[in-house]
Symmetry: C2
Subunit: 454 residues, 2 copies
C-alpha cells in the first residue's frame, strides 16, 4: 500500500471527462481561428536549458521550476511559449513565420485556482515573425483576439492597446529616469485594480517619485479613447516632441485605421495606463478584459480580469542570435484558463449535462448466450467507422443496457436477439422516442449515419 498523499501537486489539477469535453471545445474554437489566419503549428519541449530561460523574465524568473541536477544538464520547465519560440527562431535561422502553439507552461506562483490561476496551465499563442510594413501584423493579432472572444460568447469585452514607445515618451517628458521605467510599468499595471490615488501614492512612497512627476504622469495615464485621443496627442505640444512617442502615436493612428477596416474598432481602447509587466515588449502592447462578471444564476461571482494579452517584441530573437540579428515579432496569447473557468462555472450553474463520449450506438442483446452475436455485430460497426459500445458482460439485462444509454446520452441501440439473428436484421431503437425498427444488417451502419446526420 502506498503511503503517498493521494492528491495532485499544489496548483495543478486533474481534468475529468466533462472538463475535457469543454476544453476540447475551447481549443477547437481557438485553433480554428489560428488556422483561419494561416498559422502553422510548432512544438517545443517542456524542458529547456535553465540558463536559456533564467535571464529573460526579470523578477519573474524566481517563478521558474528548476529540475534537480541529476548528472547532466541543468534544466527548467518553460515559463511561457514566447521565449522558447524566440529560441526556436534564432536556432533555426527562421526570419519569417506565422505560428501557433498551444501547450502547458509552468509557474511556481501562488495558485488562485478558483480564479483560474494555476501552476500548470495552458497557453494559446499566435505570433507573426518577420520584417513587414508597420502595424499590419499587429492589427491581425487584435483581429484574432476579437474573433476568438466573440466566438466563445463569454460576454462583453474590451481590447486595450498602448505602445511601449508612447509609454516611454510619457515617462521621459514627466522626468522619470530610464532606470525606473520597468518598475514604473509594474506599478502602473495595477491601475485596473486600484484607483489612481493609490497607484500615485505607491509611486511617490515606494518608488521615490516626486509628487509633481507623479501628477504629471497621472494626467497622461488616466487618458483613454480612440482616434480622437491619438489626434489630440499628436497635435498637442508636449508628447509629440518626444521622438519615440511620436513614432508610437503615428503607428497607433495606422493601427486604428486598419482596425476600422476590420470593423472591430468599437471594442478597442487606446489606454495610456496599459503597461504590461514583461521586459521584452518594444512596441504595441495589448490586453483584453471582460467587461462584466459572471453572476447571473445567483452563483458566486467569478472574478476574471484579463482574458488575452500580448504585444510586439522586436528584440527578443536577437538576444539569442550569436550575431544579434533581429527578427521582429508580434503576438497574442489567449487566456484560455480564465475563459475555461468562466465557462465551467456557467456550465455547473446551468446544470446542463455534457456528453463526455461520442458513442452513437449501443450494441445490446435481449436474451442470454448472445455475447458472440454482440461481439460480431459491434466489430462490424467499428470497422464501418461507427462509434459503438457494448457492456463488458456475458449476459447483461436489456434494462441495464438501455439504462447505460440514458446515463451516457447514447442516442441509438442496436438490439440483436435470436429472432433478429434468424432474420438477418438488427432492431434499431431510438433511445429518446423508444421507437424500434428492424434494419437489414448490411444497411445498419448507413442507417445509423443517416439518423445521426447533423
Amino acid at each position: 500500500r502506498s503511503a503517498a498523499a493521494l492528491r495532485p501537486a499544489q496548483g495543478t489539477r486533474d481534468h475529468h471527462p466533462a472538463q475535457m469535453a469543454l476544453r476540447e471545445r475551447l481549443f477547437r474554437t481557438v485553433v480554428r481561428c489560428f488556422k483561419r489566419h494561416g498559422a502553422a503549428a510548432i512544438d517545443t519541449p517542456v524542458l529547456e536549458l535553465r540558463e536559456m530561460l533564467m535571464e529573460k523574465y526579470g523578477d519573474n524568473s524566481r517563478l521558474i521550476y528548476e529540475l534537480q541536477d541529476q548528472g547532466g544538464e541543468l534544466l527548467a520547465l518553460r515559463y511561457d511559449l514566447t521565449v522558447p519560440f524566440a529560441r526556436y527562431l534564432a536556432m533555426n535561422k527562421i526570419t519569417n513565420i506565422k505560428r501557433y502553439h498551444i501547450a502547458k507552461v509552468y509557474r511556481r506562483d501562488n495558485p488562485a485556482m478558483t480564479r483560474g490561476r494555476y501552476r500548470e496551465f495552458y497557453q494559446c499563442d499566435f505570433d507573426i515573425a518577420g520584417q513587414f510594413d508597420p502595424m499590419i501584423p499587429d492589427a491581425e493579432c487584435l483581429k484574432i483576439v476579437h474573433e476568438i472572444l466573440s466566438e466563445l460568447q463569454i460576454g462583453d469585452f474590451l481590447i486595450k492597446v498602448n505602445d511601449r514607445r508612447i509609454l516611454n515618451g510619457v515617462f521621459a517628458i514627466c522626468g522619470i529616469p530610464e532606470s525606473k521605467l520597468l518598475t514604473m510599468c509594474s506599478t502602473l499595471d495595477k491601475l485596473d485594480k486600484m484607483p489612481w490615488k493609490e497607484v500615485r501614492s505607491e509611486m511617490v512612497g515606494e518608488k521615490g517619485l516626486s509628487p509633481e512627476a507623479a501628477d504629471r504622469i497621472g494626467e497622461y495615464v488616466q487618458l483613454h479613447g480612440g482616434m480622437d485621443l491619438i489626434g489630440q496627442l499628436l497635435q498637442g505640444p508636449k508628447l509629440s516632441q518626444n521622438k519615440l512617442a511620436k513614432e508610437g502615436l503615428g503607428d497607433m493612428k495606422l493601427l486604428f485605421e486598419y482596425l476600422t477596416l476590420f470593423g472591430i474598432v468599437g471594442k478597442i481602447s487606446f489606454d495610456l495606463s496599459l503597461a504590461r509587466g514583461l521586459d521584452y515588449y518594444t512596441g504595441l502592447i495589448t490586453e483584453a478584459v471582460l467587461l462584466q462578471q459572471e453572476n447571473d444564476h445567483g452563483e458566486e461571482s467569478v472574478s476574471v480580469g484579463s482574458v488575452a494579452g500580448g504585444g510586439r517584441y522586436d528584440g527578443l530573437v536577437g538576444t539569442f542570435d550569436p550575431k544579434g540579428r533581429k527578427v521582429p515579432c508580434v503576438g497574442v496569447s489567449i487566456g484560455i484558463e480564465r475563459i475555461f473557468s468562466i465557462l465551467e462555472h456557467r456550465m455547473k450553474a446551468s446544470g446542463e449535462k455534457v456528453r463526455t463520449t461520442e458513442t452513437q450506438v449501443m450494441v445490446a442483446t435481449p436474451q442470454k448466450h448472445l455475447l458472440s452475436a454482440r461481439l460480431k455485430l459491434i466489430s462490424e460497426l467499428w470497422d464501418a467507422g461507427i462509434k459503438a459500445e457494448m457492456m463488458y458482460r456475458k449476459d447483461p439485462k436489456l434494462l441495464k443496457q438501455l439504462q447505460y444509454c440514458e446515463d451516457m446520452g447514447i442516442p441509438l441501440v442496436a438490439i440483436i436477439g435470436e429472432q433478429e439473428l434468424r432474420d438477418g436484421v438488427v432492431k434499431l431503437r431510438d433511445v429518446a422516442t423508444r421507437e424500434e425498427v428492424d434494419i437489414p444488417r448490411e444497411e445498419l451502419a448507413a442507417e445509423i449515419r443517416r439518423r445521426l446526420k447533423p
Copy 2:
C-alpha cells in the same frame, strides 16, 4: 546577448510545422479510434508528487526526472500515463471508466533519437477500468491496436500476447523461485533482439539459473502459435497442473474466441516469450511489432521494434487506495513516436511536400495603394469562416503574392484591383490552372467553399 547554448535539452526536440502536420494526422487517427470505442478523455498534470511515482517502477525509477526542492513539495515529472491514471481512479473513487489520454511523458533514458527514442515523448493510452466478465475488455484493447495499426498503413504487423499468470506457471514448473520472476522477465524480454542461446547464457551466467532449469524454460518460451498451442498446453500434462497457468490458459482460449469474432485473429500470436518489463501487470500482456523494416526507396533502414504495448494491471489502483480496494484495469499504449519516426522517414524519402497551413485563399492586389481594399476584403472572408492570408506589405508585387501561393500550396487567389472595386466583384484565380473568373463580391465566400469542397 545570451551566452546560453542555442539548442533544446538533450533527448528533446522541437517540432517544425511539417512535423506538426504529420503528428496532427497521427493523433487524429488515434483519437478517432479511441472515440469510436466510447472512451472519454481525461488529463492529469505533468508534475506529480515524487513519492507517488518513486515506488511504482522498480529499477526504472532511476529514470524519473526530479524537480529541485524550491521550498515546497518534492515533485517529479510523470514517467508514464498509467500510474497517474491509477492515482486518479483511487483519488476520485472511480470504479468504472473507459478513458484515453494523449500526453507527454519524461524519462531520463539514453536517447536514441534516430530510432524515435526521446526523453520527452508522447504516449497515447486507452484503458478500461472496472470489474467485468473475463477477457471482453482485453479483447477490445487488442481490437483497438489492430484498427490503429491498420489505419496508419505502416506495414505488416503482429500483435503478440501472453499472460503473466502463464509465465509465472512456466517459471514455477521449471523450478525458478518467485524472487527471480521479475529479473527473469527482463532477461526474457530480450528474446526478440537476440537468439535463445544468448538469452540462455545470460540466465545461467548472470542470473544464476541451473543449465537444466534454463533448458526447461527454453522449451516453453520458444513456443508461439494460436488456438492449437493453447489447446496443446491445456491438454498437456505439466503446465495445466499449475493453478495460475491453467487460469491464464483458460482466459487465453476465451481471448482467442473473441478475437476470432472480431476477425483479427490472423494478426495475433500467443507468444510464451513475451514478458514485458513492468512490475504491475497481472494478466494479459501484449506487444505489437512491425514485421518489416522501412528500406524501400533506398534510404537508410529505420530500426523499429514495438509499436504498441500494454496489459492487465488489476492491482495498481489498490496500491493507492487507503483500504486497498482494487479496480481491475486493462489498457494499451500506442507507440506513437516510433510510428511518427517511420512515417517521417517515409515522407522525407518520397520528397512529398506536405502543406503546413490550411489557407484556402490569398487576398491579393494587382496595383499600388490598395492595402485598404485588401484589409477590408480579407476581414469579410475571415468573418465568413474562410481561411485567408495576405502579405504584410503595403504594396506587394502581384508576382510575389502568386509565388507565395505556389510555395505554400494555397489553391486560390482573390484579386481585388481598381476595376474590381468599381464593378463590385473579385477576380478569383485558380493557382493550378491559372484560370480567373470575376465573382460578385457578396458571393465570394460561398464560391470559395464550393470550389474547395472535398
